[in-house]
Structure formats: C-alpha cells, structure tokens
C-alpha cells in the first residue's frame, strides 16, 4: 500500500468554506489515501453534530471511494504508547490521538500528511505538510 496516511486536520481544512491553497492543490491531484480509524471517528463526530443523513451518506461514500481505513492493532497501540511515554519523559506531552496516527503511519511505512510537522516529525515517519 502506498497511499499516504492523512491526518484529520488536513481533511477538516478541505471541508472549510475556503480551504488553504496548498491543501486544495494537494487534494486536486490525490485520488486515494489511507485513514486511521482515529480519523474516521473524528470525521464521524464532526459530521454527526449536524445530524444530517446526507452528511452521514457522504462520509460512507468518501470512505468507500477514496480511503483504505487502517485499524489500531496491538503493535500500533504498543508503538503509540511507547512514543507518547518517551515524549512525556522529555516533557513533550502529545495527545493520544496524534500518536495513534503517527504509529499507524510508522507501522505501515506510510508518509504522514499533517500540519503538525514540528510536533510529529522526528518520530520515525516521513511527514508532508500540504499547507501553503
């Protein structure tokens, strides 16, 4: 699998009324991506706040057409916890969700597309920031 793993914030930017130009350019040449189940949960939560069946249907279609959804497996959870603990020991606390996403990309050897290059770089994954 070679699709990049895309973090939630990048997709939320595409949902904004006027997406960042760099993100829009990246999205216009991207057909297939990998998604962590963490991101799927966050997108579902964001869309469910509107309680619109059309939005729920959009998410199902989007996932079916464009996404390989990756589970948080035991090795991924183990890696995410290790990274989070190591960062905390250096007084760099990061959200659990961030590190589950990083560990998913690391485990599958995928490029992580995220805005948080400073926070999530240097953890064993290649990161790409599409924001301009």
């Amino acid at each position: 699998m070679t699709s990049p793993l895309v973090d939630t914030r990048v997709l939320a930017e595409l949902a904004a009324p006027h997406p960042n130009a760099g993100v829009a350019t990246w999205a216009a040449k991207t057909h297939r991506i990998a998604l962590s189940v963490v991101t799927l949960e966050e997108l579902a939560a964001g869309l469910a706040r509107r309680s619109s069946p059309a939005l729920a249907g959009w998410l199902d279609g989007f996932v079916a057409r464009h996404c390989d959804v990756l589970d948080v497996t035991a090795p991924i959870a183990r890696l995410a916890g290790t990274l989070r603990g190591q960062l905390a020991a250096r007084r760099r606390t990061r959200p659990q969700a961030d590190l589950l996403v990083v560990a998913t990309a690391a485990h599958h050897g995928l490029v992580l597309v995220t805005r948080k290059v400073r926070e999530l770089g240097g953890l064993g994954v290649s990161v790409l920031n599409p924001f301009s």
Binding site: A27, A28, W58, G61
Partner: protein, 97 residues
C-alpha cells in the same frame, strides 16, 4: 434491489443457460441474468449498454479526486466542520511533577 425487481432477475443453472443461450441473451436486454454454478453466482449476463454504463460510472468514480469529494461535502454542509479537540493530558506526567 427491491423484492419486485429481484423476482424479475432470472436465475439460470449452467446447464440451463447452455441449453437456452439465445433466451438468456434476449432476457438480458431487460434485466441482468444470473448464471449459478453449485448455488453460487458464477456469472451475470448484462446487455452491452448496461455494461458500458457501469464502466463509465466506474471510470468517473476513479477520476474523482479528494478535492471533488470535499467540494460535494461543502455543498451539503454549508459551514466548517467542527472536530473534537485532541487532548494533551497524560495523567502520568502530571502526578510526577
């Protein structure tokens, strides 16, 4: 598929289909015809026009980019997407300090 349309799709065994191939083709003009081998669908015979339409819609789906998909979402939602906040807390860390 509704129950009524399901009734119209004719199921054929391989032996039946072989014996009545012109009939299978004639029926496929109206509805896909399922050919079953050992109770499992082995092939679906569809009219050329149906096949071309299916291929065209598959090609259109494959051409769709992420930008296209989110343009649809923006039309449906009419506002930014409010996402849950990712929390920084690591209780372990706080107790130690």
């Amino acid at each position: 598929m509704s129950p009524s349309s399901r009734r119209r799709v004719r199921r054929w065994s391989v032996a039946e289909a072989r014996a009545k191939l012109p009939e299978v083709f004639a029926a496929a003009v109206h509805e896909p015809q399922a050919i079953f081998r050992h109770r499992e669908p082995a092939a679906i015979v569809v009219a050329p026009r149906t096949f071309v339409a299916l291929e065209a819609s598959r090609a259109a789906r494959e051409r769709e980019t992420l930008a296209d998909a989110f343009a649809t979402l923006r039309r449906l939602s009419g506002g930014p997407l409010a996402l849950p906040r990712r929390r920084n807390a690591l209780g372990l860390d706080r107790r130690r300090t």
